[in-house]
């Protein structure tokens, strides 16, 4: 009796394990079928955006490969409102960068897969293929253009300084001897070393760490693009922007170097995005509302930007 019960138990357990295994495999198949089908559904749902059905691209082009994969991997920020951030209400990643990314995905008729790319990782992620495209508040400059390809600028931000309202810092010259925070791997590392060599630089992984440090008084100022700083003001209105424009920061989408087909495709999407009013709507929704400033879509090309920056 004793032995038989043990055997029975063992048999029951084996069947259970087997059943779970089959269920898991079956689940997998359903998942992948869904992903394939999902692409088409998205395309049909987005009437008007890409003009109905998405254009098919040749299989050996980046666009074609993305279409085959059924998704485009886009590196965005997860913690920089209003460009890329996680909305806890619906657990979605949203923002100005994200809107543009979605427009690109629509044009290809695929799903956008939004991956977090902190400043440090953006270029490595492009180079090793973790992402197909980076839309992560990335400034176009000549140095980076040697490592990756850029689209035409989709936004022009200006470098400013963020301090608490009761701070005595009023401009870049006041930063001497003070503690300034910016992100590792951002263009501001260099800019601050040149423009404020007497300032004590604190480099962190992500701007959310800079904000924490400013709020708890561990640093005196944060310097980066004005819109990233505005995102911080939105979270904490005891801060304000000071100083003249340090730099002009044209944001561009980043992708693998020398992929001219992909570049032309992306610039094409950008043109449509600017001219049919989607850019303006996205700007008003995410930025104009808070900065109180008007802006129109940038009309510089990549070459113009690179010429100016050298």
């Amino acid at each position: 009796m004793h032995i038989r019960f043990g055997r029975l138990l063992l048999a029951a357990l084996s069947i259970l394990v087997l059943a779970l295994g089959v269920a898991a495999c079956g689940g997998d198949d359903e998942e992948s079928a869904d992903t394939g089908g999902g692409g088409t559904t998205t395309q049909e749902e987005q009437a008007g955006g890409g003009g109905g059905g998405a254009e098919e691209f040749p299989a050996d082009s980046t666009m074609g490969k993305i279409q085959q994969a059924g998704e485009i991997k886009i590196g965005v920020k997860y913690d920089v409102p209003p460009f890329g951030f996680r909305n806890p209400r619906n657990d979605q990643i949203e923002g100005f960068d994200v809107d543009f990314g979605k427009a690109i995905a629509d044009k290809l008729g695929v799903k956008p897969n939004l991956i977090e790319a902190i400043s440090d990782n953006r270029i490595p992620f492009i180079q090793d293929g973790t992402v197909d495209l980076v839309l992560s508040t990335m400034t176009i400059n000549a140095e980076r253009a040697q490592e990756i390809g850029f689209t035409d600028p989709y936004f022009i931000a200006k470098g400013r300084i963020l301090v608490p309202k009761d701070s005595d810092i009023q401009g870049i010259d006041d930063l001497a001897g003070r503690r300034v925070c910016t992100a590792l791997g951002s263009t501001y590392e260099e800019t601050l070393k040149q423009e404020a060599p007497e300032a004590e630089l604190r480099l962190v992984d992500a701007y959310s760490e800079c904000l924490e440090n400013l709020q708890n008084g561990a640093v005196d100022a944060i310097s980066t693009d004005d819109v990233i700083l505005t995102g911080m003001i939105i979270q904490d209105d005891s801060l304000h922007l000071v100083g003249e424009e340090l730099t002009t920061e044209p944001y561009g989408g980043g992708f693998k170097k020398d992929d001219t087909e992909f570049r032309d495709f992306l610039n094409g999407v950008l043109e449509e995005y600017k001219s049919d009013g989607r850019w303006q709507r996205s700007y008003d929704k995410w930025l104009g509302r808070y900065t109180g400033e008007e802006q129109s879509p940038p009309d510089m090309t990549l070459d113009e930007v690179l010429q100016e920056s050298t």
């Binding site: 913690d79 440090d120 990782n121 293929g129 973790t130 992984d205």
Partner: protein, 276 residues
């Protein structure tokens, strides 16, 4: 003091499923720890056997490997892997990660975290295993070969089973360290408990990002997260101690020493020189 205990600062804990989010995220840490430990044990066994090999070059390479990875900071390994893992590996994981895994574990960078943890912990465990195997009384080995057993058979039937059994308390104790180390993957943006906690401090109480009214101050959030770890690891350490006592009793009865692990240390429990 007031700030620490003021109920206003703790209100977030029972609002809005905040505690639930943190607990879910803590599960991610546990899962990463278990997966890494299982893989690390397998790799460690291979490394330990290689470092006991009678072929000198093999032994030297294995020992060299173990020495390198024991001496590098884990966060260093993880960051390096996150920046340099080859494309095929990342894509392979992102495309083929099993569906039953939670979202946080299907991202491409998860491999960087797990491989880093495995590389590091396998080196540590390999040392512990080697000590465990070497701690076996020489008499056992000689008796086994007197019985005419080949080296391989000796290993399989006499040495390994006993040596590995001694390692159980050390393994459980290393699991505690591993548990703590899983927090490091928050730096490469994996959505585990520390990162979720930080996100909570930013979004809770911030109407712009839809976080409701109640703020979650970082001190209290991190104390809560810390408590999760302290409680879990304390339980593990009690388990390890109990296993250790059983093992010492058994070993003492047979006149040998038990192996313990204390933060990467492989030293026979009753003192003595620590030649590695």
């Amino acid at each position: 003091m007031n700030y620490l205990f003021s109920p206003d600062n703790w209100q977030w804990l029972w609002t809005d499923n905040n505690a639930g989010f943190l607990l879910e995220a803590f599960l991610i840490n546990i899962e990463i720890a278990i997966v890494s430990m299982v893989l690390a044990l397998i790799v460690a066994l291979a490394l330990a056997l290689l470092s006991l090999s009678r072929a000198t070059p093999v032994r030297l390479v294995a020992k060299g490997w173990v020495d390198v990875f024991r001496n590098l900071p884990l966060i260093f390994l993880i960051l390096y892997l996150a920046l340099s893992l080859p494309e095929w590996l990342r894509e392979g994981w992102a495309d083929n990660a099993p569906a039953f895994l939670p979202d946080a574990l299907r991202g491409e960078l998860v491999l960087a975290g797990i491989i880093g943890l495995v590389l590091y912990n396998s080196a540590v465990m390999a040392e512990i295993m080697r000590a465990g195997i070497l701690s076996l009384d020489r008499g056992q080995r000689e008796a086994a070969s007197a019985l005419g057993m080949t080296y391989r058979d000796q290993m399989r039937f006499v040495i390994l089973p006993q040596g590995l059994r001694r390692m159980v308390p050390a393994t459980v104790s290393q699991l505690i360290t591993l548990n703590k180390d899983t927090t490091l993957v928050s730096i490469i943006t994996i959505q585990e408990v520390v990162r979720t906690g930080r996100g909570l401090t930013q979004t809770a109480g911030n109407p712009f990002v839809g976080g409701g009214d109640i703020q979650a101050p970082i001190l209290q959030v991190m104390i809560f997260v810390g408590l999760l770890f302290v409680v879990t690891n304390y339980a593990l350490s009690r388990l390890s101690r109990r296993l250790e006592v059983r093992e010492s009793r058994r070993a003492a009865g047979e006149g040998r020493v038990a192996v313990t692990g204390v933060e990467d240390l492989a030293v026979p429990a009753t003192g003595g020189p620590s030649r590695s």
